[in-house]
């Protein structure tokens, strides 16, 4: 159970490990983007970790990185095709960031650091924990950014938080807004001692 929970808060990939910041900055402009990205990310992360953990004994050390990349890329391409076919609207918005899950440091990092050395069950738990940690982080960041930057939160056509201001803080939707949000969240977490080793 420890393998599962550590990724969610204590070693949150974004707030503690500070991995995968590139897609985080880019797609957290709207909550619905973050949700779709989270789903795609979990779809890639968990099966990749499971399969890599299963075949870890057969993969020679020297070719492990290319092997991992091929496996991760396969799942990424599958989800990319599915989103293109079934959710064309999000395919437009998320664009390059879905294919880029391949080189997402969280997937690669956890596979290399954990799944390639541990049994299947633990690897799946680790991947799920890290994946949910990443998802939770991007959803939180996107809620803050959308709320402050647009003045309301709308998910799949439903208004979740109605408009409360007529002059939203436009900069929150822009890249600096993501840095500010992540920075402030990390500061709060550190202050409260929620992250491991601080």
């Amino acid at each position: 159970m420890k393998e599962f929970t550590k990724g969610i808060l204590k070693r949150n990939p974004i707030f503690y490990l500070m991995l995968g910041l590139c897609p985080t900055l880019a797609i957290t402009t709207a909550v619905e983007n973050a949700l779709i990205m989270s789903a795609a990310f979990l779809f890639v992360m968990i099966p990749s970790a499971a399969i890599i953990s299963m075949v870890r004994r057969w993969i020679p050390r020297n070719v492990r990185i290319p092997s991992f990349i091929v496996i991760i890329a396969t799942f990424t391409t599958i989800i990319d095709l599915l989103i293109h076919g079934f959710l064309p609207r999000f395919y437009e918005v998320l664009g390059i960031f879905i294919p880029l899950i391949v080189v997402n440091c969280i997937v690669m990092g956890r596979v290399e650091a954990f799944a390639s050395k541990n049994p299947v069950r633990e690897s799946i738990l680790d991947a799920a924990g890290m994946g949910i940690g990443f998802s939770a982080a991007i959803v939180v960041v996107s809620i803050i950014r959308e709320l402050l930057g647009r003045g309301y939160v709308e998910i799949f056509g439903y208004t979740v938080i109605p408009s409360f201001t007529r002059s939203p803080i436009g900069v929150m939707i822009l890249p600096p807004g993501a840095f500010l949000t992540i920075g402030i969240i990390i500061a709060i977490f550190k202050k409260k001692g929620l992250l491991k080793g601080v």
Partner: protein
């Protein structure tokens, strides 16, 4: 690299290739269909009661009832402040604009991105080529305040496309 390393990597790649082949085959039709319906949806927003036929990248809109030509729809690209802006221009058969739609843009939210707003785009409706210019350039279109570059990019893209189409028609007789 020894033989075993090469073998393992090759096998992984082959398996991966087969999986992707299978998935791609499964969703191929679906992808084509969604792209097609998406296109028709966009075209119908400009000419709601028409059928469309493509000819050299220009869509001819014909009435669903009697097949009479109602107008044309063309795609255009403009160079905005945040990259290219792609748009769709519907033109009545008398050469005036029916409607302009922005398909894709990367302008600054709150400023340039306001080119997608109805207030701005509605100005184009019913205008002819000579009128499609910003007011400060001697035309009839009001630029969005604080976003002259984006506004001008749209206006220029529309104008250039209309001139190009006019030329095509003239040379086609």
């Amino acid at each position: 690299m020894n033989t075993r390393e090469i073998m393992v990597l090759t096998i992984i790649c082959i398996i991966s290739g087969f999986c992707l082949f299978a998935v791609h085959n499964l969703v191929k039709e679906r992808i084509e269909k969604t792209e097609n319906t998406e296109m028709i949806r966009l075209l119908s927003e400009i000419f709601p009661s028409s059928e469309f036929a493509e000819e050299n990248g220009i869509y001819l809109a014909r009435s669903k009832e009697n097949g009479e030509l109602e107008g044309y729809i063309a795609m255009a690209e403009g160079k905005g402040y945040g990259g290219s802006i792609s748009l769709m221009i519907g033109i009545h058969k008398d050469g005036t604009i029916k409607k302009v739609k922005i398909l894709k843009q990367g302008e600054t939210p709150g400023l340039g991105a306001r080119i997608t707003e109805e207030n701005f785009l509605a100005q184009f409706e019913g205008k002819s080529v000579d009128e499609v210019m910003l007011k400060r350039d001697g035309g009839t279109i009001d630029a969005i305040s604080g976003a002259t570059i984006s506004s001008r990019a749209v206006v220029e893209a529309v104008r250039e496309k209309m001139l190009e189409l006019a030329y095509l028609w003239r040379s086609a007789g």
